[in-house]
């Protein structure tokens, strides 16, 4: 069960100073954020804000300077993520590039790919989205059917991705596609590859899907004979499954897996400050948050050490999703909705509708628990 072990980490040197810098920065921007923007958390998309974050060196901050990074540690990056999430900053325009697309290109891309994409992500100019899910392939991702076939000039892409967050607002997608048929009787995990897709290329059709809040957050993206250059391939042809799986440690490990509702908790703390009867219930949420934070910081430390904490990440995502998902209910139990201060009421309303997504996006609760069960030796 070593995959469930956590080693605690101290904050890095200069942590408090870095937090202070972020707080001053956020204070310059936050007057523009409505309660709904704050409640959207990392599902808020604001290119101007993202560019401002990039200008401070807080995107791709662990990457080499040569590629626009700041060569800082994962633990320092963790502080940036925490502060932005705690404030409910609209970080969606760089979140995915910073969290997983950039690190993937850095790890597995060619020098040319790194030079082409990383500085743009770090400046906040290039937004990336994740092309995994398809209409018939959700949890059973390896059943996906979008394919890229080799041609004289590169690749020909056909198929369909769905639920692509911000696809309509992004510049690039890293898609997991089939580049050769699964071997007869062999593993479906073979023959998959990751490719870079320019979302403005001919043959790409993006159809936003309206969600239950009435917003256009995710998309259906269809590829009809989209021509990709030879260097669209990221990493090794046929190794896409393993690549995408290890990317998940980055995708699932961060504070975004337990802080999605954080601005509401802060609003609750402020609103209930003078109501000592609520102390035990609030204290319980705080205790849980404190524990999740220690676990998540431990994972940042493991990433720092070059470890591959995929299982710990699944575990913290599962616990964290439960926590952030239950927060609106916990606040509602302490103050009738009609008596909440208006900003709190609006955050509560937004989050009540959107919290069901927390245990779906990035892999469902059942899939996370399946990963833990495998580590326990049950499957």
């Amino acid at each position: 069960m070593t995959g469930l072990r956590f080693d605690l980490r101290d904050p890095p040197h200069g942590a408090a100073a870095l937090r202070a810098e972020l707080r001053a920065f956020i204070a310059e921007h936050e007057h523009r954020w409505t309660p709904e923007v704050r409640a959207r958390s990392w599902m808020g998309f604001d290119r101007d804000f993202t560019r401002a974050v990039g200008a401070r060196g807080w995107i791709g901050m662990c990457w080499p300077k040569q590629y626009g990074g700041a060569e800082r540690s994962f633990l320092e990056r963790n502080i940036v993520l925490e502060e932005l999430l705690a404030a409910g900053a609209p970080v969606g325009a760089h979140w995915i590039g910073d969290r997983q697309s950039g690190p993937l290109i850095l790890r597995l891309g060619t020098d040319a790919q790194r030079a082409k994409f990383l500085p743009g992500i770090a400046r906040g100019d290039l937004a990336f989205c994740i092309g995994l899910s398809e209409p018939d392939s959700g949890s059973d991702l390896a059943s996906l059917r979008t394919r890229a076939d080799r041609t004289d000039t590169g690749w020909l892409l056909n198929g369909r991705k769905i639920w692509t967050t911000f696809g309509h607002l992004c510049d690039w997608m890293i898609a997991l596609v089939r580049t050769s048929p699964a071997p007869e009787g062999g593993s479906r995990h073979q023959g998959l590859s990751q490719v870079l897709v320019d979302l403005r290329a001919p043959g790409v059709t993006i159809r936003p899907i309206r969600d239950l809040v009435g917003e256009e957050g995710f998309n259906e993206i269809t590829f009809d004979d989209v021509r990709l250059p030879p260097d669209a391939l990221v990493g090794t042809e046929g190794a896409g499954w393993a690549q995408a799986t290890s990317e998940l440690a980055f995708e699932r490990s961060g504070p975004d897996r337990y802080m999605s509702s954080h601005p509401l908790l802060e609003a609750g703390m402020a609103a209930l400050r003078d109501d000592p009867a609520t102390a035990p219930a609030l204290g319980r949420e705080v205790a849980r948050l404190w524990t999740l934070r220690a676990m998540s910081t431990a994972i940042a430390g493991m990433l720092q050490d070059g470890a591959d904490p995929v299982r710990q990440a699944a575990l913290v995502k599962d616990l964290g999703n439960d926590f952030e998902q239950a927060l609106p209910g916990a606040m509602r139990a302490l103050r009738d909705v009609d008596d909440m201060p208006e900003p709190m009421r609006r955050m509560h309303a937004y989050l009540t509708q959107i919290t069901p997504t927390f245990s779906l996006r990035g892999g469902t609760r059942e899939i996370m628990r399946g990963i833990i069960a495998r580590e326990l030796g049950l499957r």
């Binding site: 069960m1 469930l4 956590f6 605690l8 101290d10 904050p11 890095p12 040197h13 200069g14 942590a15 408090a16 707080r23 956020i26 204070a27 936050e30 925490e82 502060e83 705690a86 404030a87 601005p263 908790l265 802060e266 609003a267 703390m269 402020a270 400050r273 000592p276 609520t278 102390a279 035990p280 219930a281 609030l282 204290g283 705080v286 205790a287 849980r288 948050l289 404190w290 524990t291 999740l292 934070r293 220690a294 676990m295 431990a298 575990l315 599962d318 616990l319 201060p341 900003p343 709190m344 059942e366 628990r369 399946g370 833990i372 069960a373 580590e375 326990l376 030796g377 049950l378 499957r379």
Partner: protein, 341 residues
């Protein structure tokens, strides 16, 4: 880490000292003297006592793995209590006597009181060392059938005062810290039993662990177990860095997390082991009854949640909903311990 090595040594000693027969005998009132002697020989009792006073000079973080090992085995001896009592005595400038030692806050039942040679009673910052034989005991047990006895007070054989860093509620905070780590260990032990059972018990032609409903429950159990362990370790670090009094927040968070995990873990373990787990013969109940007992000792989830909530509500903050950082985040991050440059 030194704590991990000691924990391995301790775990080996415990595998003999806390088999089911020993546990059962201990729970029916017999002090497991042989087990105690074997564990006492490891010299862990003085783990937290500073070098200068002849102890091992370890910190709370270093002994957390030892406490987990004790919890994992459901060890029927007051070693955790002895470690805590010795630390209290040393802090109050009192020499640590040999033999079975335990501690409690004044007015709270003393763990293992009737079996102890000496008892440390903490009242505010005052620490009193009593010879157990000089006290009259009203005997009782927790639901793990561990002795929890109430003494009638008499004159102590030594007295001292705790330094400020130990605070006014040191016995409770210390008990909460010890029990949090022991709970994490007991959860690990119960989880191992449940996983083992799931892999061996067959129904419908296959091990029950092949059923997804069972797997998902055990995954929840594992996650809670990790949470309890991380929380206990993080609280131990805070206690080392800030002193027991000023780590009350972190210790409380750990106790709440461990207490909730204890309830969930025990319930899932019993569900997976079904009728077999309810029998006296099976080892499981020795762990689950400890989980149910220990979550109440040193402050329950309710007690600590209330204290945490009051701490956060009372923390100074000028923030409003519309400004950053919010009151909670300000408080939480203000407690981060940056290592000295």
């Amino acid at each position: 880490m030194i704590g991990d090595e000691l924990a391995d040594q301790l775990a080996r000693a415990l595998s003999d000292a806390s088999d089911v027969a020993t546990l059962r005998a201990a729970e029916s009132g017999a002090f497991p003297q042989a087990a105690w002697d074997a564990l006492d020989a490891l010299g862990l009792g003085a783990a937290l006592v500073p070098d200068a006073r002849g102890g091992a000079g370890l910190g709370f973080a270093e002994i957390a793995p030892l406490l987990e090992a004790l919890g994992r085995a459901g060890a029927p001896v007051p070693l955790a209590e002895g470690i805590g009592a010795a630390a209290l005595l040393a802090a109050a400038g009192i020499d640590v006597p040999p033999g079975v030692l335990t501690f409690a806050a004044a007015g709270v039942p003393v763990p293992w009181g009737r079996h102890a040679a000496h008892v440390v009673v903490v009242d505010g910052a005052r620490v009193a060392l009593h010879a157990a034989a000089s006290l009259r005991w009203r005997e009782a047990m927790n639901i793990a059938r561990e002795a929890r006895d109430t003494p009638t007070m008499a004159a102590p054989i030594a007295e001292g005062t705790l330094p400020n860093a130990w605070g006014n509620d040191a016995a409770r905070a210390l008990t909460a810290l010890l029990r949090s780590a022991q709970i994490a260990g007991a959860l690990q032990g119960a989880l191992a039993l449940a996983v083992d059972h799931a892999n061996t018990r067959k129904q419908f032609g296959r091990p029950i662990g092949r059923f997804q409903a069972v797997q998902q429950q055990l995954a929840v159990f594992a996650a809670e177990t990790s949470a309890a362990s991380v929380a206990a370790a993080a609280a131990a670090r805070a206690a080392d860095a800030r002193g027991l009094a000023d780590a009350a927040f972190e210790i409380g968070c750990a106790k709440v997390t461990a207490g909730e995990a204890a309830a969930k873990g025990a319930a899932i373990a019993h569900q997976v082991l079904a009728a077999m787990g309810i029998t006296e013969e099976h080892a499981l109940h020795h762990l689950t009854r400890r989980l149910w007992s220990w979550r109440d000792e040193g402050g329950s989830e309710r007690f600590w949640s209330a204290r945490i909530g009051a701490l956060v509500q009372g923390a100074p903050c000028g923030a409003t909903v519309q400004s950053t950082p919010g009151p909670l985040w300000t408080f939480l991050t203000s407690r981060d311990q940056e290592p000295a440059a």
